[in-house]
Symmetry: C2
Subunit: 402 residues, 2 copies
């Protein structure tokens, strides 16, 4: 009954999701407190209290047929304007409500913009390590993925390889900063260079190349690190945002696309994106959550909880002899594995430590630790991490991986 | 910037949505009370009070990271089991939670199942008049739509034409009962015959053909009419359900697929559908709304409001000389137009009456009136309907269109 085209998707089902399902089974078998599941980016920090209050207030104050009803496929006008104003205040941009399209999370936003711009055979460039589902999203529209190998020096994108990989068929580039799985934040200098390379190539080929900035981790940055706003560096940029992490609402599927006026054919692109949103079956972003966002537009989850996790985990792992970069954003640590990453992750499972192999991000030799878990889980897991390090004979080294 | 493949979608944007947007503009210009907008199936009857209470209770009783968090791509286990039990109680079926997959409304459910089963060139049969977006959904996966012409006698599907149209490449058939736009409910006899024809053709060609029952209007039936449960008539049936109409939650995008054990390769199909749900970018159905459904699984909107609308509109239109079938379900009236349907709908706009032309459902010569509006709007609109009838010289006829 299943399509032939669907089979590779079934056979190569997400390693992250497979680990998540396995974690649930192990928790049922051994007790949740005895399984150290670091596999999925499912926030442990609760949504801000203001989200709960907004939901209750909306139910009591706003009319049912409006709160739960259809609106334009792009979303409620007041919500789009409210978000545009908030972005403008924070980043000095000049967006209006018409630049925004509310989406069913960032994953759906990516699908919407890819459907809008991709013809079969069009190429989309990503930088390893990257979220593997990008490949499925691109193939949904018969696009071809071009993967730039990882720059394991500092996990900023490899720009020489990037420039060489752009062809006449390059239609889009997806970046993700703060990055999943490395936690690295792309610097202003990196973004400036990416923009310059794209402009050069657009001129050389007479084409238009869309830079798609996937930003679910924008608000999760530590040590005062600023995450530059990508539209300020290159005109053909579309931002793909989600409240999954910034408000701990991953299950609610609420996010947006920003399609600035500066994007070529901007008006046509946003009109077409609204149609993509509809014909892909989303129709519109969930309505109550749109209304919640309007009331919580400048709210954030408690970042200090993630930061506390980051500090404990990073310092402990370094002490045990693991090699990794100290992440500046998101809630992931990306460690070098002492043997083949798949074997290493299998080995860790014996200690009931669940990680995701770097191969699942096109970066073998590493493993991702999602530290969006309770502080207690990290504390409880440390002896297991220590034992694994000892069993591999790891030795602490002072200098960072970088 | 836009894909060539996207252009026809932009050029043939939904007539329904275009009319909805035009209605909003006209309301701003003339005042909402002076525009009789019957274009969109956007329920005017509020969600049941129990939905509001469930939302508030969940916020107060359940934990934030669970309510708003990720779960398996198929949805929360307890929600799927609760819905399965409810269907079993009502229709004598034998589903379990594993047969259900929570979706971002029915439109997304259709996309999920079509992505799961369609290879390029596979054929999908629909019966005119049909919801035109089916065509876009099928083309998303490079399927080919086969349209069975309308049976304007009684708007039950034309079964002779149907049997003749099934080929070796037929992979699916979409039915929609209670029907948008006619309000007709497919009889048990119709479903029995559809099932028999499909079985015959499966045997003849050695193929598997999936019957997809799109059922957002299942709960909206009047005069005690029963809507037969389609899985009872043919084993390769998948049900695509939405709470958009039954609980007046169209903006929330919450629904489900039922993939019974009897479907060929059932286990593989449901596993693949969960992957489709993820890679299309929905990831999962909105989480809070899933939890709401569990608490409101047997609730329904106030149907008597729609019924009151139906009775007033039907009897008035008949009196003025319009020809139509009395709808048994959904919230649409499908009238015969006294001239070309597009011209007629343009003409009605002069009287600020907004309808959707039958051509938008592959059934020219008719127009759809969505009566999911306030009773007052219907009362206020009657003089306009009467004037239009007089201007066209319509005369009341006793017998129904049927």
């Amino acid at each position: 009954m299943i399509a032939d085209k669907m089979r590779p998707l079934v056979e190569n089902n997400s390693a992250i999701r497979a680990m998540f399902e396995e974690g649930k089974k192990m928790a049922a078998e051994y007790g949740a407190e005895n399984v150290y599941d670091f596999s999925l980016g499912n926030p442990n920090v609760p949504a801000p209290e203001s989200v709960k209050q907004a939901i209750i207030d909306i139910m009591n104050e706003e009319e049912s047929t409006m709160v739960h009803g259809y609106m334009s496929n792009a979303g409620f006008d007041d919500v789009r304007e409210g978000i545009a104003a908030s972005i403008n205040r924070r980043f000095g941009t000049h967006f209006h409500g018409g630049n925004l399209l509310m989406t069913v999370g960032a994953a759906s936003g990516l699908n919407v913009i890819l459907k809008t711009i991709l013809d079969p055979g069009d190429e989309v460039i990503v930088f390893a390590p990257y979220f593997m589902e990008y490949g499925s999203y691109v193939r949904n529209y018969d696009g071809v993925l071009t993967v730039i190998p990882p720059n394991t020096e500092n996990f900023q994108p490899g720009l020489l390889e990037f420039e060489r990989s752009i062809t006449k068929r390059t239609k889009a580039v997806i970046i993700n900063t703060p990055n999943n799985p490395t936690g690295v934040v792309y610097s202003s200098e990196t973004l400036r260079q990416i923009g310059a390379i794209l402009e050069r190539k657009e001129n050389e080929y007479g084409t238009s190349i869309l830079l798609i900035s996937d930003e679910p981790y924008r608000e999760l940055a530590y040590d005062g690190v600023q995450v530059p706003y990508v539209t300020l560096f290159y005109k053909n940029t579309v931002v793909c945002y989600s409240y999954s992490k910034s408000l701990s609402l991953p299950g609610e599927r609420i996010g947006y696309l920003v399609i600035p006026d500066e994007v070529e054919d901007s008006k046509a692109v946003i009109a077409a994106a609204a149609i993509s949103n509809r014909v892909l079956g989303c129709v519109n972003a969930p309505s109550l959550m749109q209304r919640v966002i309007l009331r919580c537009v400048d709210e954030k989850v408690n970042l200090s909880a993630y930061n506390k996790n980051r500090e404990l985990l990073y310092s402990s792992l370094k002490e045990y002899g693991y090699q990794c970069i100290k992440p500046e954003g998101a809630f992931y640590l990306f460690i070098k594995t002492p043997e083949d990453d798949k074997k290493f992750c299998e080995y860790c499972k014996k200690h009931r430590v669940l990680l995701v192999q770097g191969s699942a991000f096109a970066c073998p030799g590493y493993a991702r630790i999602a530290y969006c878990v309770s502080y207690e889980q990290i504390e409880r897991s440390l002896p297991a991490f220590k034992r694994i390090a000892q069993e591999y004979g790891l030795k602490a080294v002072k200098e960072d991986l970088r």
